[in-house]
């Protein structure tokens, strides 16, 4: 007969709860200390599982998808990100975005529109049929991915907002809550993060309001729950965790442009001919590949978007 003895040692007696709760910081601290001494360097941070999103059903495969390219593994797409609201390291968003509350979520449509209103995320998800759009994503830093985004043409949002004749640009304001986003406590960038598009760019069929990727709702490190994607532009143009969409007359002052006007312009179209002042934009490393490949003009979407920029000096309007 098996008699189960009551466990007379409460776990908290072995490890104080306060210490247990701080175990990650404790481990990180110990690791940092060890690394400094050159002995803890063998320590490994635990590989984190990508947070599973909710499945999005009834996805239409979009004809505007990029074809013939291998899709980047989901794990890479969720653990190698630039999302400074969660820290400036590439792994920071994956590690620090767990506290982001993506429900309830509302987006305020405001500015030069006939129908300003606050839209709930649930409504956003049903505004138009969700499509899967496979796009290349080129980061200004010289690496790229291929990601199956989920969303619909951003023009669907514009149509419903009924912009006035004064609306020349769209501005996207991201959430900047230091409670949920540790990186916002640092004065690295001018918070909140602001991005923007010219009206014709925002109306372009390739520009999407994105609510998911890989068939699921957007993971937190990728800008949950709602963002905008313009695949012919560098990744930093794709505003994440958007809380405001403003229709404005003047060209928005975008965050990276304010941070360093010599290096980041308003347009930021992918352009292998115009180098970043500190590195070449001629080639890129596709995540998962060893060698580098040539960067394509407008990230390979030139046939669709080039006509929006005819007559513009792209060296000046970089």
């Amino acid at each position: 007969m098996l008699i189960k003895r009551p466990n007379d040692i409460v776990p908290s007696e072995i490890t104080a709860k306060s210490l247990y709760d701080r175990r990650r910081q404790f481990l990180a601290g110990a690791l940092a200390l060890g690394a400094t001494a050159g002995i803890g360097a063998l320590g490994l941070s635990m590989p984190r599982m990508a947070r599973a999103g909710a499945k999005l059903s009834n996805l239409h495969k979009s004809a505007l998808s990029t074809t013939g390219e291998d899709v980047t593994p989901l794990k890479d797409a969720t653990t190698y990100n630039n999302y400074y609201e969660f820290g400036t390291g590439k792994e920071d968003p994956g590690e620090n975005s767990g506290k982001l509350r993506v429900r309830p979520w509302t987006v305020s449509i405001e500015g030069e529109v006939k129908k300003p209103r606050v839209i709930d995320l649930e409504e956003f998800l049903k505004l138009a049929p969700l499509e899967e759009r496979v796009y290349r994503m080129r980061c200004v830093e010289g690496w790229s991915m291929v990601i199956p985004y989920v969303g619909y043409a951003f023009s669907e949002v514009i149509k419903r907002a009924e912009p006035t004749g004064k609306a020349k640009f769209v501005e996207f304001v991201s959430l900047a809550d230091p409670e949920q986003m540790p990186g916002v406590k640092m004065p690295i960038l001018d918070w909140p993060y602001v991005e923007g598009l010219r009206m014709d760019e925002a109306m372009h069929p390739l520009a999407i309001l994105c609510v998911g990727m890989y068939g699921e709702t957007l993971p937190n490190p990728n800008g949950a729950p709602v963002r905008v994607i313009t695949p012919w532009k560098y990744g930093f143009k794709h505003g994440k965790s958007i809380i405001k969409i403003r229709f404005v007359e003047q060209q928005p002052k975008t965050t990276w442009q304010l941070a360093n006007p010599n290096e980041y312009g308003f347009y930021s179209n992918v352009n292998p001919e115009v180098d970043h002042p500190r590195w070449s934009q001629g080639r890129e490393r596709r995540i998962g590949e060893l060698g580098k490949r040539r960067t394509l003009m407008f990230n390979g979407y030139g046939d669709q978007v080039a006509q929006m920029y005819t007559g513009m000096d792209l060296r000046k309007f970089f």
């Binding site: 490994l44 590989p47 190698y80 590439k90 500190r278 070449s280 995540i287 998962g288």
Partner: protein
């Protein structure tokens, strides 16, 4: 402090042991990278990871090399000097890895692209300059070379390390997109180490002067 006295009187065989331990310890960063590479632990962009990691160790080792003299002066632990050459050579070793990764894995021996990078991109220019300057220091690190050059000339040549460390920190600083926290920490540490040297040489000069003045009056 009795422990410090004991440390000052460390026997040569103990110093040799410390040296051996340090030699192995400084291989850990490389071993770790190898281990991570075998276990898919280098993240989504492995080449960037190992480039940054080796670069970080070059800077750290340069600072450790520069730390030896101030630490020796403050503590009186003269045997620390016997670790300095190894620290410097390890800095060169990790710099070779760093540069090699750039040439091979980052640029794939695209010499035209590499030359363009060195000429056009200030952060590559300073990094490359620092690397080139390290070569003569590594080449003249043997006892035979010290004898051949003579202590004074050798010392003069090896003052290049100050410039190398500064260029290295600038290299790190200029490549940062926006967050310069880490380069700032390296810059601050380097500033302290160079300042300490300034204080030592000023003291030395001050100590030498009265002696010189005295000898003149006699």
């Amino acid at each position: 402090m009795p422990w410090l006295t004991a440390l000052r009187r460390l026997k040569p065989e103990h110093v040799a042991k410390i040296k051996a331990v340090l030699f192995i310890a400084l291989l850990i960063p490389l071993t770790r990278l190898g281990w991570l590479a075998l276990h898919h632990g280098l993240g989504a962009n492995p080449i960037e990871y190992i480039t940054r990691s080796t670069g970080w160790w070059v800077l750290s080792l340069l600072l450790m090399t520069l730390l030896v003299t101030p630490l020796r002066r403050l503590s009186g632990l003269n045997w620390l000097l016997r670790l300095r050459r190894m620290l410097g050579l390890y800095a060169f070793f990790y710099a070779c890895l760093h540069f090699g990764i750039y040439i091979w894995l980052d640029q794939f021996f695209d010499w035209q692209g590499i030359l363009k990078d060195i000429a056009k991109r200030p952060f590559v220019t300073v990094g490359f300059t620092a690397f080139v300057c390290l070569i003569p220091l590594a080449a003249t690190s043997t006892n035979a070379m010290v004898r051949k050059l003579g202590a004074a000339r050798w010392q003069k040549l090896h003052r290049l390390i100050y410039a190398i460390a500064i260029l290295g920190v600038v290299h790190f600083w200029w490549l940062a997109k926006k967050d310069i926290t880490e380069p700032l920490i390296f810059a601050a540490l380097l500033g302290i180490l160079l300042f300490a040297r300034g204080v030592f040489s000023a003291r030395k000069a001050a100590a030498a002067q009265p002696a010189a003045a005295r000898s003149q009056t006699v």
